[in-house]
Symmetry: C2
Subunit: 414 residues, 2 copies
Amino acid sequence: MLNIAVMGYGVVGSGVVEVLTNHAEKIAKKAKEEINIKYILDLREFPGNPLEARFTKSFDDIVNDDEVKIVVEVMGGLHPAYEYTKRCLEAGKSVVTSNKELVAMKGAELLALAQQKNLNYLFEASVGGGIPIIRPLSQCLAANDVIEIAGILNGTTNFILTKMIREQMSFEAALALAQQLGYAERNPAADVEGHDSCRKICILASLAYGKHVYPDQVHTEGITKLTLEDVEYAESWGGVIKLIGRVKRDEKKKLQIIVCPMFIPRESQLANVDDVFNGILVRGDSTGDVVFYGKGAGKLPTASAVVADVIDCVKHIGARKYLFWSDGSSDYVEDYMLDTVSMYVRVRIDNVDLAYHNASRVLGGITRLSRKDAPAGELAFITESMPEKDIHKKLDALKELGVEAVSMIRIGDV
Amino acid sequence: MLNIAVMGYGVVGSGVVEVLTNHAEKIAKKAKEEINIKYILDLREFPGNPLEARFTKSFDDIVNDDEVKIVVEVMGGLHPAYEYTKRCLEAGKSVVTSNKELVAMKGAELLALAQQKNLNYLFEASVGGGIPIIRPLSQCLAANDVIEIAGILNGTTNFILTKMIREQMSFEAALALAQQLGYAERNPAADVEGHDSCRKICILASLAYGKHVYPDQVHTEGITKLTLEDVEYAESWGGVIKLIGRVKRDEKKKLQIIVCPMFIPRESQLANVDDVFNGILVRGDSTGDVVFYGKGAGKLPTASAVVADVIDCVKHIGARKYLFWSDGSSDYVEDYMLDTVSMYVRVRIDNVDLAYHNASRVLGGITRLSRKDAPAGELAFITESMPEKDIHKKLDALKELGVEAVSMIRIGDV
């Protein structure tokens, strides 16, 4: 019998306990050992809970108990999760987590500590909820050079965008519905501003390229400024708007990494990822495009990913899974303004024909878009591919001519 | 340095050598050991090949060399791959393979032998080519009860169906094109008759439910009888025809497993899997639907999956990956005639109205389908769900009334 502790009895934590309890026999068979939840750390009381006696409010109970070999950290947030994880690893306990914020911020440090102690620090559940992605990326695609990763990594924003696209709901109305259905928090900033997607693409990029990239190194835009006009123009262009986290590596081995809404062509496998689902495309040099699709969040999907890591951890007590990346550096990420993109631009202007003429002259070959029932004074077009800074420079010049962009969205090539 | 041998220098074998050579440094880092190809077994000559000196025509060279720790079996076919694999395992060498025929026929026996010898027998590349599926199914989804697996498992037939659906090519013309492009063999029976898909769903089912199911236990239908009429009716129904391998387990723990063309609704994630791509849907009780998508065949995708297994094997020399299922039994698979399905039926008959009247009377509520430019004397409909044997019984009764089905296709609920 192997003793574990679960830190945090929120949505994911209670799901972990539920999965471990309901599938106990099957899991014991897979892990070749019975797994016993010795402690559950939570500051709240859970009177009547079948495991009431296992609850503790003291982290010391866990860290000082040598019988506890694996600790599941599903508290979320940076503090005290970071300190607790460190102390657990220092005390010789492997740690399994779903905490994307912590992995994205402190992954390199915690992985190094785990390595030094010959322990495991596993986080399959931190990206894509129940979708297997961390292990396939590190193991199955090990013989590939990863050319690119692009993903719809946040279910809440994808739900909102789906409602805007399919039902012509405004952003505000779709967000309100998402909150009503429990998909979005009362304070939805982490989702709609793109921070959650940013943490996840940082984890995938760190793993794929072996060096930590930190969230504050990544240019991140959310979906709060998207309008139904933009959604309609995306459709007339032949695609949909999705919030994408994307990373590539350039010839100087610097990362091109960004989180932002993108126009995605209808034929892309990511274009059909709707509602609260996530989709992650990994482009390998040998394997070509591989796409992973499923529910990116939710109690049981996330919990089942955590428990799969616990099983793996039990099977590898005393051995290490190879899951590692080194510290990052401040010059590791290329300025996104240097990335080559093509851009959707929408302007409001009295004289549309003159504006189109000027835009063509300043920007070079542009492709004009149309939409049904467009009001007078609206012009939308796609620029050619060029370094993003050049687009901005040209749009500034266009502004001098009285033509100001009210909306700009990058064109995704995935 | 760790020595391996590659048996078979065909498409996959030469790809394995290519990937191991081109990514040598990266792979050594991942495996924490340099990998050396000591032998390549092939009966042909490869003069001028950079590894010419490593080629051998004698299996004994490999099996008798104690320095060879891992053997890659990419010969394909049952014999002598089976005998060679057995002898390698008996001689203390782990084996990595892409040979779906062998795994589907002899997996339980070879896994038991590997276990007994404390070796690994790995076969990620046997299903889905470069798509990670074996490892995610056995590890990441370990905390799930697998409710169902349904997949488009054969790229050749999916290419043919895509051409029929998108470009209204006949089956024969699409097959000829597939052969011309090198997607289909000169003798395409294994693909178009569904045998290849059958082997793959057998492997997935054996792994997911822990007990071997053999190809000859699975009712298998190919795509050779599909016509453009059926393709059009599928569209008017709201979907597409795909060749699906599907397995579920019923309450008696018997398998419901089948390979056949199915009507798949347009909203299904499998409906958008086109051309030579594969898509595999795994429905878990905790994780919900997870879909894996990518190239299911091809030299480099398959080779990269083989090499990923080799890396895993090197890291686990002396330890075992948990990958196992027990022997099958003759009563393990439920008679597919007892499975509940709803069926698309097309008939040719002079008096369509009378036929519809009779079909409704005999079969109960049927849903009539229409298509543009349907000739006189054509009737197509969808039956209600019922055990398949009842559908056949009722269709026999209908035949007595002079209404004979010329086409029947099951409706998929994935």
